[in-house]
Every structure is written in C-alpha cells, then in structure tokens.
Symmetry: C2
Amino acid sequence: MADDKRELSERKKQILKAIVDAHIEGGGPVGSKAILAAGGMNCSSATIRNEMAELEEMGYLEQPHASAGRVPSELGYRFYVDALIERYAMTTHEIAQINNLLRAKMGELDQILTAASHLASNLTNYTGIAIRPRAGSASISKFEGIYLEPDHFILVAVAASGAVQTKHIHTEFGIRPEAVARLTESLNAMLAGLPAEKITLPIIMELETRMGPDSGMVGLVMKVVYDLLSELDAGAMQVSGVDHLLQYPEYSDTAQFRELLGTLEKKDDILDLVSISDGEGDINVLIGSESRVKVMNNSALVFKPIVKDGKTLGAIGVLGPRRMDYAKVLATLEGLSGNIENLIQPNKQLHEGGTPDGTSGG
Amino acid sequence: MADDKRELSERKKQILKAIVDAHIEGGGPVGSKAILAAGGMNCSSATIRNEMAELEEMGYLEQPHASAGRVPSELGYRFYVDALIERYAMTTHEIAQINNLLRAKMGELDQILTAASHLASNLTNYTGIAIRPRAGSASISKFEGIYLEPDHFILVAVAASGAVQTKHIHTEFGIRPEAVARLTESLNAMLAGLPAEKITLPIIMELETRMGPDSGMVGLVMKVVYDLLSELDAGAMQVSGVDHLLQYPEYSDTAQFRELLGTLEKKDDILDLVSISDGEGDINVLIGSESRVKVMNNSALVFKPIVKDGKTLGAIGVLGPRRMDYAKVLATLEGLSGNIENLIQPNKQLHEGGTPDGTSGG
DNA sequence: GGTTAGCACTCGAAGCAATAGAGTGCTAAA
DNA sequence: TTTAGCACTCTATTGCTTCGAGTGCTAACC
C-alpha cells in the first residue's frame, strides 16, 4: 500500500527518530535546532530543515502551523514503531515489581488481569486496560449447584476458558439438597460444552424429565444458564489509571477527554477492537485513526493477547497519547504477559526462582 | 454544635433557598437582582442585599470576591439539605427505567449494585458509586470444591452476606474427585462461620487429620481461604460515569479533577467513609470538607446503605459537585434502594406487578 | 424601625494592540 | 551538497482599556 515510497535515507531515519523521541519527551513541536542540540547530528540546522521539509512532503511529519516545529504524523509514528524503536530494557526494580505483585495473585484469570492492568498503568504512567474478549459462542464446561436454604441455592458455572461465574437462585417453593445435587448432575450431563444456540427444546424437555418431581425449577434455571452464557459471551473490560492521562497536555481539552472517558466506560468499541485482533499472541499497536474508534484520534492503544493452548483468554493493554513511550510500553506488556502466561500454566515452569517471601496465611 | 445561631427568619430562608437553587441551576455566583428576577419576592433588591449581607455574616453565604454575587457556603448547603430542600418527584419514565433495568438483574448482589450505580449515574448526570463495605471480620458460611482436572479444582466460598467468590487451585500432585468432596465437607465442618483470626493452628491440624492421605493440599487450601477472607474483608467499590462530571465547570481544573479521579481509583478513602457510616439505612449527605477526604472539598457525596435483616450489605451513591441537585439525587437513591431491597428479599413482595415482559430465555 | 431608591465604588472578564521569540523557507556562497 | 544569513510568519504573552455586574452605603420614605 505504502510501498512506492522511496526508501528513507539513513540520515532521514535518524532525524525522524530524533523528532519522535523529542516529541515523546516534550510534547510540543520539534524544531531543527532542538534536534541539533539533542546531539548525534554532524550537520547544520539548515540541512536538518531541508530534510524535515522532505520528510513532511513524504508524509512522516506534520506542521501544526507555518512557524512551528514539526510533529510526527500517524505514518511517522507507525514507521517509528515498526522500524526505529529501540528496545527498552526494564530495570530490575520494574521486573521485581511485576514478579512480586503478580505472584501474589494466583487463581482467577480476571483477577490476574486486573492486577496486571494496574501494574501496566503504574509502570508506564498511562492507562491500563484488562480485557476478557468476547467469546464467539461460549459454553460452560462444568456446573455446580450449592444448596444454601430451602428456597435459595447458587449455581456456579465454569467456562471452558476457566472463567467462573455464579448466580443466586431464589425459588418460591422449597427444594431439597438432593434436588440441587440432581440438578448439578443433569446440567453437566445435558448442557456441558453446549453454546446457547445448541440448547434446544428437546434438550430442555429431557432435562425436565430427569428432574422428575423437581422439574418446576428447570424454567428458572434455564433463564439463569442463559444469563451466564450471555455474560461469558459478552466479554469484560477493566480500566485503571485514567487519572494518569490528565498529566499529558493532549488531554487538557476536557471535552475530548470526556468523550474518551465515555468510550472507556461503554467498553464496546474497545472490546470490539481487541476481540477482532488477529488471533496470534503478538502485540498490537493501534495509532490514532488506525483504531477506527473516532475518539481515539489523538491516542494510541497497545495491547497484547494472553494465549494459552492456542486460545486467546484475555488481553492486557495500555492506552495513552499518540506520542506515548512505545519502547517502554512494549517492554512492559511483554514482561507482564510473560509472567501471566507462566501463572496460568503453572505446570510449565513455576519453580525457577523459589521466591522466599513467607506469606504465612493463618 | 451550631445551636447558638439565632433562628433564620422566614424571608432569610426564602432567600437562602433561592440562592442555592439558582446556584445549582447556573453554577455562578448569584446576585440580588437575579433573586428578584426569579420571582417569589415582594421586596426590592436593596432589601435582599441587606439580608444577604447578614446571611454572609452568619456563615451561610460566601463571596468569591468583593464585586461578585454570593455563593452558598458549606453551612448553607447543609442547611438547605436539612431544612429547605423540596422533594423531587421522579417522573414515571425514570421510575420505569429503574424497574426495567434492575428487574433484569436478578442474582448477584454485586451485579445489582453495579447496575444500580450505572442507573444512578445516568439518571442524575453525576458519578455513580456502588460499594460493598469492608466487613469487620468476614466469615465464609459455605464452601464448595469443584473438581476439574487431576491437578486443578475450584474452591467456591459463600460469605454470610451472600457474596460469592471463587479461586482456582492448581496442585503439583494429582488429586481425586473424592478428595475434593472430602475437602468440601471438612472445610464446612471446621471453618464455616469463622473469621480469619479464629482459624487457629489446632483447627488446621484437625483439618489435616480429616484429610488423611490428602493432607498435603491443606497448606495450599489454607492460603486460598485466607485470600478469600481477606478479599471479603476488603470491600469493593465500583464507579461509573466519571465522564459526566466533566460537564460541570467546577471540574475544568484538570489538576484537581485528576486528584479526584485518583481518589476514586484508590477506593480506600471512600470505602472508609461509607464503611464507617452510622449503621442505619438512612441516606448520608457529605458536603465538601465534611467528608474528611481532602480532595473532595468542592464535591459532595450522597450515599444510601442497602440493609437486609439489619445488616448493611452494600451501598449505592452519587458523587458530584458541591452544588449538585440534591433533591433529584436523594429521590433517585431512595427509588433505587427501594427496588434493590425488594430484589434481594424476593419473598417479601415480588408479585405486586406481574410485569409481562416475556424474556424467553431459550 | 424596616424598606427602598440612588449612586459611587470594586473587581473580574473580555477585547485589543504591541512585543518577543521560535522556527521556517529561501537565497547565495562555499 | 551543505551551510550561513536573513526576511518572514505565526503564536504566546503582556499590558492596557473598557464594560458590566454587583455590592455597600446613605438618605429619603412609609
């Protein structure tokens, strides 16, 4: 698509990189003298000006107004991220933070992702996002009813992905513990592994037959099962650290920031974005209008799916200004996702360190 | 405390109410002529000026600067909320919205509260808050283990409050389904109803004895139980609709708004505030510095605990500018909490309407 | 004594011109 | 091809003026 563009000379790359770096650092437009001052150049500011004019013509830079410096365009960022970025080396402190905080959170994937999103936000100073993507058609691999009172029990559903959800069920008539046990057994026998659209009337009828005298509760239970499946299908998203964004001048326009907040609360757009991502566990970088979400024109979204056994279980990401510190963000997400995948596949290699922090729980 | 203040004359009350109303409406300082224009006064602006000067002296009003109108002080708002407020009548549309949206959300209290917080935010145009307060010392009333794979099962814990939490447990050695069943039984027998500090070493030893050959898993399980109890103790809070706040000029100062966002994300301060509230199910109105949370000096927090059988299970609230529309907020929270309490005590009076909206879940 | 009209005064908001400064593009020389 | 120099452009800032809303005070009024 953008292939007939002539190659960038080594010096152009150097200048483009210097501009992006300086812009990420400072936020404002970058002038020719500033680049010279940053060092690494052995030519004059006039030469840099000429190169910048060409880079602008080629579409990598933009000029906010005639007498300002240059700002990287979307294409400029894209080139930077794809070709110019320097690997950021995490400090041992940052690595330790990831290790400690995530290690403490064994168990629920949702909780791990939430913790990871907080970490991502704090380590990068942007907004962290944790996502459980929409499932195409989720199914429940295991049911369990828990009897509480004669008119009250809980239905626990474990999804294939490992997500667990529970629902209270109140009945208007009494039920015995044995009925709940039979329900558990029947649901597992009849409905385990079935997505909503494969649960047909004959199956429900069979379920009623199995429940015998307690068939009255089947209707209620089916509604709950439907709700559970819907919620699993729907995906979920968790945002942390929006307040960080306000430190960047690009979000000082409250009207626009408000729209962004609204988008984050609606969740749909971003869930779509991530759910449609290209399957593999690679990091995705969406810059500005690449993301199709209108409101994010000045922002960038970087996210990494969490994959286990070839299935995408979730994603963690970072949302920030278009001029975000991509090197650091990429490194952070890589680090986090590595740890998360270790955590959810504990058999693989858990004992590599033996961290001796005795959290004696009792 | 503020009792030696001489009583406010009828006219002073009228003027104070007019000022607060106008300030809530418009946001800016209110002048004597504006009050006259609003109607209801049969005196001149000069008289109103005199009264306003006295009200200011008495502490009910403040003047941003010498030549501006008056603004209600914290004391002024307090008096307004306590004595002057007019009951807001919800529209049938608003009532219908509450009914429909909450009816659909049977089940988990957390989910109901989340839905309620969204509703509160949307109906009032401020920020909605849903809270599960810190429990003094939570206990688990029912355990249930769910066997999944030879090295993997789930522990479900039902708290006395009805909250349900789950944890995945991975073991490094195989366990049989029967071991999980025995674990369920033993946990219920030994630990049900005990807060963390009553779980002593002898109890844990007895647990190990009961588990016999599978006693190896007890250590792991105890850590999980401790985590579960900690999470129940910790409380939870859910915020929705922060973006609404940005429409009010008092939050256009991004630095301050950012601090407020930070407070909302930390959750501790607000959880404290609500958890310490005075036990009863009454609506609490905290205006400005009354709330002790420094950052909220320009804001007000209104919340209502959700009480069942004399126990506070949660709370819903609204956070907004100090000049929020208290009448509407109070009415909305009353309406919501009424519906919620109906939902979580379904035996009481569920069938009063028989809403015929056939959500055929199949 | 409370109420009202009138008036001088205050102070912030808005508009406007002048200034400073950063950065460019162009031209001519090296 | 690079560089130095210079004119030009555009924004941000500053100081100044004007405008108007609103007050407090005084004197007259009922």
